[in-house]
């Protein structure tokens, strides 16, 4: 279906929904690289005005990637809740934006439409929303998940403790892990990116974290972010796998390049669930995504990178994940050039994920060849805190020495909790107080290190 709009005598024509979505996307380098971006400011806004008038029903008739060609499209279409769609089926994209922003449209109502909004609808409405709209609507939505603690409650804010080490050295990982705990980090998950993706290497790290967790009875979960086939092998050997990780993308072809498909995800989800290791819930999956992944795999089908990203959330959603993390600034400046683009993309990802009912976290991060620095990350971190983001990363001094990029430090999470009055996950907070790491008001205690390390004697005996 073609769309058009006339501005001062100039006709802008968009051949189909996918072209319109791309042209309406706020400027970012990845869409320029793909040759999909609007060529002028006027064309971009003309596309946004056109998009605002598109009925939501059109999105069900005009798939951006054909149903026959792509299992992610099939997942989206087959999983669409037609009954719930009645609530919003009469809207255009622009009317959806206005409705989302109404005071009456609260968390309860938004929950009712999480299976009615397709990823493409969410992407479309986000493209005509300002940053403050993305924050205001996301803030209303509460997505709660559980394994050994409760993540996503309003007023709470969690972190993934990320104690990576370039050679997976156990003592190196343990040192960063202990430091992180002493800063109150780790309520979302203790998650290590392994340098070596072999079952034996991954098992070593799993055993290390699991032993520490059990020794101190820490109400959190562990995860080693190996490829899902490696994790599945370990699950089948009954290794202590709490959470199963995988990177996912929004097209079947991109997922193929990751070495996965929906059947494999289903198998891993079922196998990990069957271990039954969660104490208060059984959300066992952790997914990572990021704008530009489909393009970088040459698997975007002419769909803009933000729309591809939201389609990845449909994949994630099928498996009721504990955590979904947009690793927004990791991919590099050819996809998101500078702080402005990274911030915008992160707010879009958080909003779209929450609208679809996902427990969204964001890796607030950048690489050294991006036009960004710590100030940009402080801005983004604060905006995400206000928007009610479920979790961020916790990395010693912001410097990941394994993945070679900069993310949020243990300190950053403390800052955010302090300025916004946010607290750790309740079970984890109780543990932090019991261990003498923080007081009832969330302040770190001077003797935190002493308090915990004294008790680690048993573990660290030579």
């Amino acid at each position: 279906m073609a769309y058009q709009h006339t501005i001062a005598g100039r006709v802008y024509r968009f051949n189909n929904l996918k072209g319109l979505l791309a042209k309406a996307s706020p400027h970012r380098s990845g869409d320029v690289l793909a040759g999909l971006a609007a060529e002028t400011y006027e064309e971009r806004v003309a596309a946004q005005i056109t998009l605002a008038d598109v009925p939501l029903k059109d999105f069900l008739a005009d798939a951006v990637i054909p149903y026959e060609q792509d299992e992610v499209t099939r997942l989206i279409i087959d999983g669409h809740n037609k009954e719930a769609f009645q609530i919003i089926s009469h809207f255009t994209v622009g009317q959806l934006r206005d409705w989302l922003l109404l005071d009456e449209t609260d968390n309860r109502i938004l929950k009712n439409i999480e299976d009615a909004v397709t990823p493409e609808m969410a992407a479309a409405v986000s493209k005509i929303m300002r940053n403050q709209d993305l924050i205001a609507v996301a803030k209303k939505i509460e997505v709660i998940t559980r394994f050994r603690d409760t993540i996503g409650l309003k007023g709470h804010f969690a972190t993934r403790l990320q104690p990576n080490h370039p050679t997976d050295d156990a003592k190196g990982i343990a040192a960063s892990l202990i430091e992180g705990l002493l800063y109150g980090s780790g309520d979302a998950v203790i998650g290590v990116n392994p340098a070596t993706d072999s079952p034996a290497a991954v098992l070593n790290i799993l055993m290390l974290i699991d032993q520490l967790r059990q020794q101190f009875d820490i109400p959190t979960q562990s995860c080693v972010l190996s490829h899902i086939t490696t994790t599945l092998e370990l699950v089948n050997q009954n290794a202590p796998v709490d959470i199963c990780f995988q990177s996912v993308a929004g097209t079947q072809k991109a997922n193929t390049s990751f070495g996965i498909d929906l059947d494999l995800l289903t198998e891993a989800h079922q196998a990990t669930s069957a271990l039954n290791r969660g104490t208060i819930g059984n959300n066992v999956m952790y997914f990572e995504t990021g704008q530009g992944s489909a393009l970088s795999a040459n698997a975007h089908h002419g769909v803009d990178q933000q729309t591809c990203e939201v389609r990845a959330y449909a994949v994630a959603k099928k498996y009721k994940p504990l955590l979904v993390n947009s690793v927004v600034g990791f991919i590099g400046p050819e996809y998101l050039y500078d702080g402005k683009q990274i911030i915008r993309a992160a707010l879009e990802d958080h909003f779209c994920g929450k609208l679809l009912g996902l427990p969204m976290g964001v890796d607030v991060c950048y690489t050294n060849h991006a036009e960004a620095d710590q100030d940009d990350m402080d801005n983004l971190l604060t905006l995400l805190g206000v928007a009610g983001c479920n979790f961020i990363m916790g990395i010693p001094g912001s410097d990941d020495i394994m993945l070679n990029y900069q993310s949020t430090s243990f300190h950053d999470a403390l800052y955010l909790r302090k300025v916004l009055g946010l607290r750790p996950a309740p079970e984890f907070e109780k543990w932090l107080i019991k261990q003498g790491i923080i007081d009832e008001n969330g302040y770190r205690l001077a003797l935190a290190a002493n308090n915990l390390l004294k008790k680690t004697k048993g573990l660290w005996l030579k």
Binding site: G172, A175, L182, Q406, H411, L414, W460
Partner: protein
């Protein structure tokens, strides 16, 4: 099981003792919730070095002068990316030569030897600092072993794959691409070497062997030269490169 022993065996457990186990930025203390001034500024300086490296320029004049010692023609080339901003956003342009450079190459007499290509990549500083030291170790070994060498090419605003176009144009049978790597917070001057057998446009990274982190504090230059020389020999002997060619040097040395 991991065992971390406290050195002095005392009851005073300060976090700083954990610092010996990792180069991660742990034990840096805090001012309120924030990182204290000294480590905060140290971090900023590390980032400044990385940023300066991304924007550093290859010293083609100095390199051209110095490369004379190898008695090989030196060609100064440029990619289609006209500046850094474009280079960073358009990797496709960094992978292909501008018109002037293409013409210059077309005028060259082809030979089926090894072509050494030097590109700024994401850290020209890494090239300015390391490339001559490496070539002084590598080129004599190649000539002593009887390999034929093509003109040395210096490429500004270049990415790895631009080497395929250059090598194909020169009719080279093997390419050694020396390029500045993406700077890390503590490694702004790290050079990488990409080795490709029968280079031609359209190859992907699985057709290459890579020796990375070449710098004094990383993979030391003599070791890097050994490794590159070994891989070139093996590659030409077995007529392939990339994932099919494993680095068995350590193993071979023991035999």
């Amino acid at each position: 099981m991991v065992e971390i022993e406290k050195a002095d065996g005392s009851e005073d457990y300060q976090i700083s003792f954990l610092r010996q186990f990792t180069s991660a930025r742990i034990g840096i203390g805090s001012s309120g919730a924030a990182i204290p001034t000294k480590p905060a500024l140290e971090f900023k300086m590390a980032h400044a070095h990385a940023r300066d490296a991304v924007y550093s320029r290859m010293d083609t004049e100095m390199l051209t002068d110095e490369l004379i010692q190898f008695k090989l023609p030196v060609l100064a080339l440029h990619s289609k990316a006209t500046n850094r901003e474009q280079y960073l956003q358009r990797p496709d342009m960094g992978r292909s030569l501008d018109e002037l450079s293409s013409n210059r190459l077309a005028d060259q007499i082809t030979n089926n030897g090894i072509v050494i290509i030097i590109a700024d990549g994401l850290s020209a500083a890494a090239i300015n600092k390391n490339v001559l030291v490496l070539l002084k170790l590598l080129i004599p070994r190649l000539t002593d072993a009887g390999y034929k060498l093509a003109p040395i090419c210096l490429v500004e605003q270049g990415r790895v794959a631009i080497g395929d176009e250059i090598a194909a144009e020169l009719g080279a049978s093997f390419s050694v691409m020396l390029i500045g790597e993406r700077p890390g917070l503590s490694s702004a001057d790290s050079m990488g070497a990409y080795l490709t057998y029968q280079p031609k446009p359209g190859l992907t990274d699985d057709a290459r062997n890579c020796v990375s982190n070449i710098r004094t504090e990383g993979l030391a230059l003599p070791t890097a030269a050994d490794k590159i020389f070994y891989l070139i020999q093996e590659s030409l002997k077995r007529k392939l490169s990339g994932v099919w060619l494993k680095d068995n040097q350590g193993l071979l040395n023991k035999l």
